[in-house]
Amino acid sequence: MNPVTFFIYLAVMAGTTYLVRMIPFVLFRRKLKNRRLIAFFEFIPYTVLAAMTLPAMLFSTGNIYSAIAGFIAAMIFSILEKSLLTVAIATCLATLAVELVFKFGGF
């Protein structure tokens, strides 16, 4: 990526991320009381991750079949509550297996 464009993006990205952390840490000291607001903040990380993962994950390899294989592996190992690293390795291996079939399997 063009260095100038990159650094503008990086400045906005890192600046916003820093301010989100810094401003409340410096200014606010009181606890949230509103039960719905607390729930909203509790849910946000998961809804963000979910919306980022699907459907983008299925198109992340350029081959929907290898990506679906990775997604299925990720779901199975996550439902079994395996560790983060185990799930990531299973995802990669399942994707790799299908990529190899397409590359060397004569498709």
Partner: protein, 243 residues
């Protein structure tokens, strides 16, 4: 400066020790980010700088996709604001556990190191958080996060495409492994997540919406609507009863 009496665990050394497991975990996640970053079009050093200055997985993946899609700067700022909003809440929470050594100037620097895992450890220890402990706690995770990105980006640049593809999807696998076990045990999170995925898919596949709304904003809108619906139906206390 008058220090609050604190136990001998509130030290720089103990912070470093407590940061080791976080740093090791970060190596693998940021390795995946490094691969994804170079396969998306960033250079090795650009990938490393993104990790060093942002120190957040979900925000970086979203930011990366906005960069590589030539998205707008407002879109970039809003996406980082929403995705990283939870750090603001953690900052407020952590503020209540810090001792007097965490002065305002110290906060300007220490705030940079508030991540899910660093906050989790700091919130869990049974002593107040001093600035030396906090500094020690964040140093190795920052190093691990940056180094992992470097290794991933370096290998991603030389691996053949099919191998990089298979490794780049790993970070999404990690996201699945964060969400699914939580959703399995918490009905509020499960319903929120299903709503978020449905809206995200709608934005992706519906031709009019996908031509007007870019990926970064689609994520934000999906995440906010889903979390708001979830908060309306599963406010904190009741949600714990249901879980």
């Amino acid at each position: 400066m008058s220090n609050k009496p604190s136990t001998d665990k509130n030290t720089f050394r103990q912070g470093i020790l407590d940061g080791i497991p976080i740093a090791l975990g970060y190596l693998s996640v940021s390795f995946s980010f490094g691969i994804l970053a170079v396969t998306s079009g960033l250079t090795l050093w650009q990938a490393v700088l993104v990790s060093l200055f942002n120190l957040t997985s979900a925000g970086q993946v979203a930011g990366l996709s906005i960069m590589t899609a030539s998205g707008g700067l407002i879109e970039m700022a809003v996406s980082q604001l929403i995705i990283n909003l939870r750090y603001g809440l953690m900052s407020i929470s952590l503020s209540q556990k810090t001792d007097k050594t965490v002065t305002v100037p110290a906060r300007f620097f220490l705030a940079y190191g508030i991540t899910d895992e660093i906050f989790g450890v700091a919130a869990g220890v049974d002593h107040p958080i001093g600035r030396r402990y906090h500094l020690g706690l964040m140093l190795l995770p920052i190093a691990g996060w940056t180094l992992g990105t470097f290794i991933g980006a370096a290998l991603g640049a030389v691996f053949p495409e099919f191998l990089s593809n298979a490794l780049a999807i790993g970070i999404y696998g990690m996201f699945v492994s964060i969400v699914v076990p939580k959703a399995k045990h918490n009905r509020g999170i499960l319903i929120c997540v299903l709503i978020a995925v449905s809206i995200s898919a709608l934005f992706y596949f519906e031709p009019h919406l996908s031509s007007v709304i870019s990926g970064g904003f689609a994520t934000i809108i999906a995440a906010i609507i889903a979390a708001a619906v979830g908060a309306a139906f599963f406010p904190k206390d009741k949600e714990e009863d249901a879980a």
